[in-house]
């Protein structure tokens, strides 16, 4: 299973190259990969329908319980088949839609990266693995929304989507880690059986809210819904694939996946149901205000995501059944409608529903595909959408306590869905023919194949619902509800209340469709509401962050080295000073008498030389004094048992003096640039910092740090490393890797020096 998940990343590496080689057919060739994955994972259906799961695990960071582990159950499999199946169609479609685009190869790579990440996300067993793939989908979504990176709108939308989903992702990470602590494992398959433990844990509420923050941002739930319509800046295949069929459902997937662990509590029910209902209504109402094909679809997607969340929140067996069935139906028809919208846009150059009409004759196949998808969205029999909608009604109607408000809200959203279906899949193809920027004609095969197949599968599943119901959907429902249940999907339920509701929905939807222009006018009068909407908060927050960043940069990064130093010194003093003061006077100020005469002389020599170095007016004098300081330090090493250090220090000091002498010929004379007052201030600061260091040493010389480390080296130097000079053994054997790093740094410094000196000579010569 691991190669299957990762194959997309590998393919992304060669996709661009393949596109250069085979410009015309690259899309078809690359689509073979998701098609192959679809077939491969179809082989799992039988295993999983039998009640088994497929799992693999590779150790990643075993000490922290992080594994690269995957497992497939019914829920994963449903998503995997959607991802690979729709992925196949979208890749074929992209080849036609972006034909001739210079960066099409890169586009293929991004789509493949996304597909692989999404597969990893829905198959992940380990929570950290899930999080990594979760973030990868956010990143690939960023790249795809901003694909047309020369437009500011695209860049803005890409960044907005990234910021919203990545912030949610951070919350999710925190939530998953806490969940791992509460449940005692990071493997979801283990946690699934520990739901009661987690729900009784004191951290249950924070865990729930953190994870919901991740799921809600990803699945564009109110009030985080605003990024999704803006994401329509992406090329249409991306909108169809990421922003309706798969990625935005990652949040829903997470809710469904964790339902057996976190679900079923009151807080889960109220929060998830409430947010879902709000999203459903807000999305549906905002959809009516739009005239752009893609934005209408985007808002209706927000609404559909709200429906899914709402029913997962209810959590009754009927609600979960309805959510899973609706999820499949929605992915099929919404993907198809997006692809149809893209084809219409591609052929006519227009996306405004008011300017489109009568394309039936010019684009018959696209019209048929759009019609099929629209019928499914409107929930008409015998399409699969009808079954999904009926089940929603049944679950809402059967929910205890809030049946009436819930049912009416779902009916209202469904009415608007009927109208949206009419506006996007029906309206552009019927009525009077309008003039469009481009002369319309039927799209090429790669553009109609995808929507047609999706539309037809909606029809086929509607006619034969039991085929997919038993093998694919009931294992998925079992995975969400955590208990076995039987699913009987039938097209005809007999005459019951839901049929009546369906009829009401259809009539109401038709009414909304007929009066859509009046409604839109009325809604646009309410335009003023948008100034306090969440999008406004987003931009306020972003601006505020920029102001803060600029302010602190101006304050802390003045560009004057000495102010940086002053800030560093002040911080060190501020942090360490009070602590040291609280410890009382430093110990160890006593042992004066055991200091020998020559040691006193050496200390005096070093201090004197340092004083000369800072007071000297001549450069050479300062260098000479600096050399004396160095030799003095080397003598300290001699006196206190460090012959290696002493030798090295002597050599380095000699070479440093040579170096300084070579360079100082070329440097300007010492100048006194600061005023006396500034010098006094700096001297005060420097002396205070020096006093701090002295105090720290006086404290620390009485502390023994980890005696074991040095003891180990001394003990094992001869037996293990065959060396009597322990310092050298540490350097070349025990800590040899550090030394390797160090000589690499030296080499880099030499390359830098060489480049600074020699490259300029060549440049001057060329002048």
């Amino acid at each position: 299973m691991l190669p299957a998940v990762l194959s997309g990343f590998a393919a992304a590496l060669v996709a661009s190259w393949l596109h250069r080689l085979e410009r015309e057919t690259a899309g078809w060739i690359i689509a073979l990969l998701p098609a192959g994955l679809f077939l491969y994972f179809s082989g799992f259906i039988e295993i999983i329908a039998a009640g088994d799961t497929v799992a693999v695990s590779y150790a990643w960071v075993p000490t922290m319980g992080i594994n690269l582990s995957f497992y497939a159950d019914g829920l994963s499999l449903l998503f995997v088949l959607l991802i690979s199946g729709i992925g196949t169609l979208v890749l074929i479609y992209s080849g036609g839609y972006l034909k001739g685009h210079p960066q099409l190869g890169r586009f293929y790579s991004f789509i493949l990266i996304f597909m692989a990440s999404m597969l990893g996300l829905v198959l992940a067993d380990n929570a950290i693995t899930l999080f990594v793939f979760w973030e990868l989908t956010s990143l690939s979504s960023y790249l795809l929304i901003g694909f047309d990176h020369k437009r500011e709108g695209a860049r803005f939308a890409a960044l907005q989507a990234l910021l919203v989903t990545a912030l949610g992702g951070l919350a999710l990470l925190a939530g998953l880690l806490l969940l791992g602590q509460a449940g005692g494992s990071l493997e979801l398959s283990v946690l699934l059986s520990r739901g009661e433990l987690v729900r009784a844990h004191p951290l249950y509420t924070p865990i729930l809210f953190l994870i919901l923050a991740g799921a809600f941002t990803k699945s564009a739930q109110f009030p985080f819904h605003f990024w999704l319509p803006n994401a329509m800046e992406a090329p249409t295949p991306v909108s169809a694939y990421l922003h309706s069929a798969t990625m935005v459902k990652a949040g829903v997937y997470l809710l469904a996946r964790l339902h057996p662990i976190l679900g079923g509590t009151d807080i889960w029910m109220y929060v998830v149901t409430g947010v879902g209902a709000a999203t459903m209504l807000v999305g549906a109402c905002l959809a009516l205000r739009q005239t752009d094909l893609k934005r209408i679809l985007a808002y209706s997607t927000v609404s559909a995501l709200g429906i899914l969340t709402l029913f997962l929140g209810l959590g009754t067996p009927a609600a979960i059944k309805a959510a899973v069935v609706f999820l499949l139906g929605h992915a099929l028809y919404k993907g198809a409608l997006f692809l149809v919208a893209g084809a219409v846009d591609h052929e006519t150059g227009a996306r405004d529903v008011d300017r489109l009409g009568g394309l039936r004759q010019a684009m018959p196949i696209t019209a048929a595909a759009g019609g099929l998808a629209a019928l499914s969205m409107a929930g008409l029999p015998p399409l699969f959408g009808f079954i999904g909608k009926e089940m929603l009604y049944e679950a809402a109607y059967g929910s205890l306590g809030a049946a009436l408000p819930l049912t009416s809200a779902v009916v209202l959203a469904s009415m608007i869905f009927v109208a949206v279906a009419g506006m996007t899949g029906f309206g552009p193809f019927t009525g009077k023919k309008t003039s469009t920027p481009k002369h319309p004609h039927e799209a090429v095969m790669s553009l109609w194949l995808g929507p047609m197949l999706l539309g037809l599968s909606g029809l086929l599943l509607g006619l034969l619902p039991a085929s997919v119901g038993n093998s694919l959907l009931s294992p998925a429902i079992e995975a969400v509800s955590g208990q076995a249940g039987d699913l009987e999907l039938t097209l005809w339920h007999g005459l019951n209340p839901t049929i009546a509701l369906s009829a009401v929905t259809l009539a109401g939807g038709a009414g909304i469709y007929a009066g859509r222009e009046a409604l839109r006018r009325a809604a646009s009068r309410l335009q003023m509401t948008s100034w306090w909407g969440p999008a406004r908060w987003y931009s306020l927050l972003l601006d505020g962050l920029n102001v803060l960043a600029r302010g602190q940069t101006r304050l802390l990064q003045s560009g004057y080295l000495r102010y940086y130093l002053l800030i560093i010194i002040a911080t060190a003093l501020g942090l360490a000073g009070p602590k040291l003061a609280s410890l009382g006077g430093p110990p160890g100020l006593v042992s004066w008498q055991e200091v020998r005469f020559y040691e006193w002389s050496l200390a005096a020599l070093i201090l004197l030389a340092a004083l000369v170095a800072i007071r000297s007016r001549s450069r050479l004098g300062a260098v000479a004094a600096l050399g004396v300081v160095g030799y003095g330090v080397a003598l300290v090493y001699v006196l206190f048992g460090a012959p290696d250090l002493a030798m090295t220090q002597f050599m380095v000091e000699t070479l440093t003096v040579i170096l300084f002498v070579l360079v100082f010929y070329h440097l300007p004379r010492f100048a006194r640039l600061s005023s006396g007052l500034v010098r006094a201030r700096d001297a005060l600061v420097a002396v205070t910092a020096g006093a701090l260091i002295t105090t720290i040493i006086l404290f620390s010389s009485n502390v023994q740090f980890h005696p074991k480390i040095s003891g180990y080296f001394a003990e094992h130097s001869l037996p293990l490393a065959h060396g009597r000079n322990i310092v050298n053994v540490i350097l070349v054997d025990f800590r040899g890797l550090d030394t390797l790093g160090e000589i690499t740094v030296l080499a880099v410094a030499a390359v830098g020096v060489y480049a600074l000196l020699k490259l300029r000579l060549r440049e001057e010569k060329s002048k």
């Binding site: 050599m651 070479l655 040579i658 000079n725 053994v729 390797l740 000589i743 020096v753």
Partner: protein
């Protein structure tokens, strides 16, 4: 600034200093010394030569560019670390042989010594690259 005394002294000192630097490198595992100080001493010897004669003369004496020494040193150090990989041991595990050499008795030769030789060459190359290019200014 060539002085006769300096250049004559240097002619005798240079081979002595170089030999001493190699001595320091070889004994470093058991006595004070090692690749760092050995390399620095050798570099100082060549720097003395450059001062006594000229940078050009030192470069002629060296034959190879000091930059090549940096690369060679790094390669030797990495290779000595990689050698145990062939035996299935982790990177930089010390490997030792004790061959019997007729005149010298039993010797201890190991990858840490090879590594130290790499350090020696890098330090020598780095220092010479810096000093010689600066002196050419």
């Amino acid at each position: 600034m060539t002085s006769l005394i300096l250049s004559t002294t240097t002619r005798f000192l240079l081979p002595l200093l170089l030999m001493f630097s190699i001595f320091l490198l070889l004994r470093g595992h058991n006595e004070p010394g090692g690749g760092f100080v050995g390399g620095l001493l050798a570099a100082a010897a060549f720097a003395l030569h450059a001062i006594a004669y000229s940078v050009g003369a030192t470069r002629r004496l060296l034959i190879i560019d000091p930059r090549a020494l940096i690369g060679a040193g790094l390669l030797i150090a990495v290779a000595s670390g990689a050698a145990p990989l062939a035996a299935g041991l982790p990177f930089m595990t010390g490997q030792w042989w004790s061959p019997e050499v007729p005149a010298l008795g039993k010797l201890q030769i190991g990858t840490p010594l090879l590594f130290d030789t790499g350090v020696y060459l890098v330090v020598l190359g780095v220092t010479l690259t810096i000093i010689l290019s600066l002196a050419e200014e």
